[in-house]
């Protein structure tokens, strides 16, 4: 069985701040990590590998610095790593990114593709499902558990107040939630092997078949108008009136105050 896991290197948002003037992320000095949902996706793939046997390939589109994250994935147990990197891909939105990744994935054979639900720097949750669309395969998103059985995957799909059990025929794409599992640590030997015995394959724009008008900033229809930190809502007031009438009167007064009535 062959599994591809799409992973992204992101700034650790626990430590990231927004520039109050430009509204962009201040990335300098902020450590980069493997996106948590993607790491859960990788762990899910590695568990399938442990129990059923599988070849796990990790793939990312990003700058050359993403090499370290791909080595980390191999140190956890991934067999192969591919870095799609080229200046031509810079400034891509989710459309251009998913198109580029799908073009890279077409060069590989696979039974299952796993992506994280969303990245903590962009929070769009679009790239995974878009890759499935580009490849013309089914997509099951928000997986909180995952089983492989007889050419199918059985996924527990999370909703706010319920879940669905979905059985999908492979090949298909799953988007993983970080609740899916607790990712394993790398091993010291895995780290040595990742640097001394394994390679990160580098694919540039010449290595993937993709319409050059649809990649990078040029191929990105999305425009971000403004980014701003979430405003913190003040705490509500709690009133415990003596009678129902008093309560109703209190609510009425507040509504009048806010010109609702």
């Amino acid at each position: 069985m062959k599994i591809i896991v799409c992973i992204k290197q992101v700034p650790d948002t626990h430590e990231v701040k927004l520039d109050p003037v430009t509204g962009t992320l201040i990335r300098e000095g902020v450590p980069s990590i493997m996106n948590p949902d993607d790491k859960a996706g990788l762990e899910a793939a590695l568990r399938i590998k442990d129990s059923l046997g599988a070849e796990v390939t990790v793939i990312t589109m990003g700058p050359l610095q993403a090499d370290v994250m791909l080595r980390e994935a191999m140190a956890m147990g991934a067999d192969r790593a591919i870095l799609i990197s080229d200046r031509a891909f810079g400034g891509a939105d989710t459309w251009a990114t998913s198109l580029t990744l799908a073009s890279g994935i077409r060069r590989l054979s696979y039974d299952l593709i796993i992506t994280g639900r969303q990245a903590i720097d962009g929070d769009t949750a679009q790239v995974g499902p878009q890759i499935a669309e580009h490849l013309g395969i089914p997509n099951v998103s928000y997986a909180e558990s995952l089983q492989v059985e007889d050419g199918h995957v059985i996924v527990k799909r999370q909703y706010e107040d319920r879940y669905q059990l979905v059985k999908a025929k492979m090949p298909c794409l799953i988007t993983a939630l970080s609740e899916l599992n607790k990712p394993r640590y790398m091993t010291p030997g895995g780290i040595f092997a990742a640097y001394r015995e394994k390679e990160v394959q580098l694919w540039t724009v010449d290595d993937v078949e993709v319409d050059r008008e649809q990649i990078g900033l040029k191929g990105s229809p999305t425009r971000v108008l403004e980014s701003f930190p979430k405003s913190i809502k003040p705490e509500g007031t709690k009133i415990i009136p003596d009678t129902e009438e008093e309560a109703a009167q209190y609510i009425l007064d507040r509504l009048k105050e806010k010109f609702v009535f």
């Binding site: 370290v68 080595r71 980390e72 140190a75 394993r184 640590y185 790398m186 091993t187 010291p188 030997g189 895995g190 780290i191 040595f192 092997a193 990742a194 640097y195 001394r196």
Partner: protein
């Protein structure tokens, strides 16, 4: 000359730091308070491949090197001195002599389960009357057919009751002095091998420190480690490596106390401003940071020499001497900068200061290190 770690060592450090913060730090105060050996942490270290870091893969290890192992001890000790010494005693004192002196059969039988972490290792040299004067061994081993009969006791043994495989030293020929000492591999559960009292200690209170007692304990002759009469060399060779491990533990304790104190002085206000704004605080921290960095360079250099297959005995002694005295000085200053709070168990520096003291004593006191160093230069 390049003072940067390789990419693999940098990544290994990140792994150990993440492991230490997530898995070890939350238990540090509790295992100290209750004098409890953290079995669950050792199991997690096993799962993460940390119990056999420098052992070749053919014997079930990780195929890394001394430097990687040293980084693990440093990062663990940064948050918990107990966990640091559990790994150090296991790796430096049990695994290392088996790698250096073990026969292929001994490696297969004893090194492999230690390297995979299935079993835990310990080392028994010290006796009530043979501490710094290690040559004064009174434990005896007499050959009887194809077994040796062991009689005597060992004290202050780290990983004491928790270990499974012990490297034990005993006199096989009293008349020959140090040339009459031999090393043996002893398994827990061997008839005649029992445990005496558990030490109640000032620091590293989660580590299991026991007396080992041998009463007509029969060891297969095939369990002799190295040749007969060469045990003293095995012990000294092992302790050379062990000193780098304890140097790394001391370095970790000092670095951890420094981290904690830097955070504290920025928060703590006196006279209307954070105490970090006072020149005394700044100068104290500058001295602490400088000593930590110097200790780190000495420890890493000794590890580097060992990995390069060069002589490292003096450098290991220097690293252990300087790092342990740094640990004591830095943790003492850390408590001072914390004021009254630093003297309470609410703050980690109190434990760190107690943990630091032993690094000046075990695996060769500071005085022994000075003897080793001066013997090398005179």
């Amino acid at each position: 000359m390049d003072f940067t770690l390789s990419k693999e060592h940098e990544m290994a450090r990140l792994l150990f730091r993440e492991f230490a913060i997530n898995e070890v730090k939350p238990l540090a105060a509790e295992i100290d308070e209750n004098e409890r050996f953290p079995v669950e942490t050792v199991e997690k270290m096993r799962q993460t491949g940390m119990m056999g870091i420098p052992v070749p893969r053919e014997f079930g290890g990780q195929g890394c090197d001394t430097m990687t192992y040293i980084l693990a001890v440093e990062e663990l000790s940064r948050v918990c001195g107990t966990t640091g010494v559990i790994l150090s005693a296991h790796t430096s004192l049990a695994i290392d002599p088996l790698m250096q002196y073990g026969t292929p059969e001994q490696k297969e039988k004893f090194l492999r389960p230690l390297a995979t972490g299935e079993k835990l290792g310990a080392f028994g040299l010290t006796e009530p009357n043979a501490g710094t004067d290690a040559a004064g061994q009174q434990t005896r081993a007499e050959l009887d057919g194809d077994t040796y009969i062991l009689n005597g006791s060992k004290i202050f043994i780290t990983n004491g009751k928790e270990a499974d495989i012990y490297i034990i030293f005993a006199m096989t020929d009293k008349s020959k002095g140090t040339r009459g000492i031999s090393a043996f591999i002893v398994e827990k559960g061997t008839p005649g091998f029992t445990f005496g009292t558990k030490e109640k200690k000032m620091g590293i209170r989660g580590s299991s420190t026991y007396e080992l007692i041998f009463t007509d304990c029969r060891i297969p002759a095939a369990n002799m480690l190295g040749r007969e009469g060469r045990g003293f060399g095995v012990a000294m060779g092992t302790l050379d490596g062990g000193r780098i491990g304890i140097g790394a533990q001391a370095l970790g304790l000092a670095a951890g106390a420094l981290d904690t104190t830097i955070a504290y002085v920025k928060e703590r206000k006196q006279f209307g401003r954070p105490i970090a704004k006072f020149q005394n605080t700044q100068f104290q921290l500058a001295d602490m940071a400088t000593r930590v960095e110097a200790a780190r360079l000495l420890v890493y250099k000794a590890a580097h020499l060992k990995d390069a297959g060069k002589k490292y005995s003096m450098e290991a002694a220097m690293a252990k001497l300087f790092a342990s005295e740094t640990a004591m000085e830095v943790t003492t200053k850390a408590v001072q900068l914390h004021g009254g709070y630093g003297y309470t168990r609410e703050y980690d520096v109190e434990r760190m200061m107690r943990d630091a003291k032993i690094t000046e004593i075990y695996e060769g006191t500071s005085e022994v290190q000075r003897m080793v160093i001066s013997a090398n230069i005179l």
